[in-house]
């Protein structure tokens, strides 16, 4: 039976990213009449193997090695290459996160195949059995449909574009894979700074208040912080706000930033470039506050306020305080 291989990058527990890639893998496998396999890598993978089994992975390829305790590209790449040579999948799926972004193209090259990054959806063509992948190009102004001509297709899926897998207990077959050799990490970590976000994580927040170039300076983000804080939400930003040094880059929302899907996404002083909207189009309600009635952001928003944020946000904060 042919297999769709999904690659998990977790330590210990299944992340939301992993549930999404397993969910996508299951649906692709069922469209192709194939089985679902997962690859798990680490120093000690048994917990993760068990967790993957609860979500319906029939075959689990595990690479265990003390050197793989923490993710590093060269090591995980060698592990995945060994898994692919053993499993011979028809497709290899990643998530377009920090790891998937760098692993998918490099793995494909090692297998002498092509990769696709930031895929939004796929469908299997009935007559030919080809998998047609859809990927946004030109910042999302166009959609490309592509076929990767030789199996396996190595694809990284856009975060938050696929439903997370549902539980579906199977008795998985666990295959231990031993790579020929695992290269040592060529880099030494001198310092790692985890930015502690006060309050909720941007990606999990039910309300996101984002600011852009229109805010005019870093000090004006304080008012967004206040509003987000009142609503139990998080602050995001456009790339211009990040490049100007007003907020840290981990707050960037968009195609090359965080993908968020809150109930309310408030875009303040953001023009609504496609590359930005790619990060918030999953929001239930997008609210735009912008002085320019022609700003493209109104084309994507559900509710729009034409006006200066300086006139709208202070009374908005006051009103929110009244109702909470």
């Amino acid at each position: 039976m042919s297999l769709v291989l999904t690659c998990l990058m977790d330590q210990g527990m299944l992340s939301r990213d992993s549930l999404e890639v397993i969910g996508a893998g299951k649906s692709l496998a069922s469209d192709l009449g194939a089985g679902l396999a997962v690859a798990v890598i680490g120093a000690e993978t048994s917990a993760l193997c068990a967790a993957a089994g609860e979500y319906g992975a029939g075959k689990i390829y595990s690479v265990q090695d003390a050197s793989l305790e923490q993710y590093y590209c060269e090591g995980y790449l060698a592990a995945l290459e060994a898994v692919c040579r053993e499993c011979k999948p028809v497709a290899v799926l990643f998530v377009t996160n920090m790891q998937g972004r760098e692993l998918a193209p490099r793995l494909a090259k090692r297998l002498n195949k092509a990769a696709l990054v930031d895929c939004l959806s796929f469908n299997v063509e009935h007559e030919t059995g080809r998998i047609i992948f859809t990927k946004p190009v030109f910042g999302g102004k166009a959609m490309a449909q592509v076929v990767l001509s030789d199996a396996p297709a190595v694809v990284a899926l856009r975060r938050r574009s696929f439903e997370p897998a549902q539980q579906d207990q199977v008795e998985p077959e666990i295959i231990q894979v031993k790579p020929v050799s695992i290269p040592v990490n060529p880099f030494k970590v001198m310092e790692r700074v985890e930015e502690q976000q006060a309050g909720v994580r941007l990606e999990d927040a039910r309300v996101v208040v984002s600011g852009g170039q229109g805010l005019g300076g870093p000090e004006n983000f304080a008012i967004l912080e206040e509003l987000a804080g009142l609503l139990g939400g998080a602050v995001g930003a456009s790339r211009v706000a990040v490049d100007s040094g007003w907020v840290s880059s981990s707050k960037q929302v968009g195609q090359t930033g965080k993908i968020v899907a809150p109930d309310v996404y408030l875009a303040v002083g953001i023009s609504g470039a496609c590359q930005h909207l790619a990060g918030c189009s999953g929001a239930k309600v997008i609210v735009a506050i912008n002085t320019d009635p022609e700003a493209p952001v109104f084309g994507a928003a559900r509710l729009g306020v034409v006006g200066d944020y300086k006139d709208v946000l202070p009374p908005l904060i006051k009103k929110v305080k009244e109702i909470i």
Binding site: R106, K109, A114, K141, Q145, M190, G245, T256, R302, V312
Partner: protein, 262 residues
């Protein structure tokens, strides 16, 4: 140190959707009336290279592009901010999503230059491929640092600051390596002086003929574009009105409550 920075000339990614069209009968965008620019992450990559050179005695920055003759504009722009050399590797067709071919040609150029550090952008702002730097890493057999914000010389080797999902890390390693750059407040490309822009017009652009095996070797696994379409988005924005900011704010909260999202 020989620093090679990879630059692509692209259709201005900031054109609003209403001005973005496709060429009739072709799976490519229409270019009439739309400016062509240096891809934005490549501007960041160039700035990272220039800043490193300033801190490393004897280092040179070579700007390299793969493309037709008119793509030399990006090289002139790089020369205007004082890149030392500029190289074009001819390729007539836009490679679209076929990153392997470009990566192969860039790998050939890196070898020909004797580069010890290759810097790319994280993704070209046209086809958003996000692969060339990574395939190039494999083609050269060098280690990779992805999502780099800045590079400095270290006590032994290079010190790279890279973005993580939450935060950043500082790592040290030795050249040769490939660095793939992301945007950060510290790597916004400097502005060229007018006199340097003029001088750049007269500088030489070297042509590299890289038909070496690297490119051919890299063609395994084809990406076939089967369609390219502009998505139809229906706008259904409801405008919140009011005499002043206060009224607008009240009406906005009212609607958010009605929509049951607050």
């Amino acid at each position: 140190m020989q620093i090679m920075v990879c630059l692509k000339k692209i259709l201005d990614p900031e054109v609003p959707p209403r001005d973005f069209r496709l060429k009739k009968g072709e799976m490519a965008p229409a270019t009439e009336g739309i400016p062509l620019v240096m891809s934005s992450f490549d501007q960041n990559a160039l700035e990272v290279g220039l800043q490193l050179r300033e801190k490393l005695a004897g280092a040179t920055v070579t700007a390299v592009t793969v493309g037709p003759e008119d793509s030399e504009d990006v090289l002139r722009k790089a020369l205007a901010v004082k890149a030392d050399r500029a190289v074009r590797v001819p390729l007539e067709q836009d490679s679209k999503l076929a990153g392997g071919i470009v990566a192969g040609l860039l790998a050939g150029a890196a070898k020909q230059l004797g580069a010890d550090l290759v810097i790319c952008g994280r993704q070209a702002g046209d086809w958003d491929g996000s692969q060339v730097g990574l395939i190039l890493t494999e083609a050269l057999g060098w280690p990779l640092v992805n999502l780099v914000m800045g590079i400095e010389p270290g006590s032994s080797g290079l010190v790279l600051r890279r973005e993580l999902d939450e935060g950043y890390e500082v790592i040290e390693g030795n050249s040769p390596l490939v660095a793939v750059v992301t945007n950060h407040e510290t790597n916004v490309l400097r502005i060229a002086k007018v006199k340097d822009t003029m001088a750049a017009m007269r500088k030489k652009i070297e042509l590299f003929d890289v038909v070496d095996s690297a490119a051919v070797e890299l063609q395994g696994g084809r990406i076939e574009l089967v369609s390219l379409e502009i998505p139809v988005k229906e706008a259904n924005c409801e405008m919140i009105t009011g005499e002043n900011g206060g009224e607008k704010a009240d009406n906005l909260v009212k609607r958010l409550l009605e929509l049951k999202v607050l």
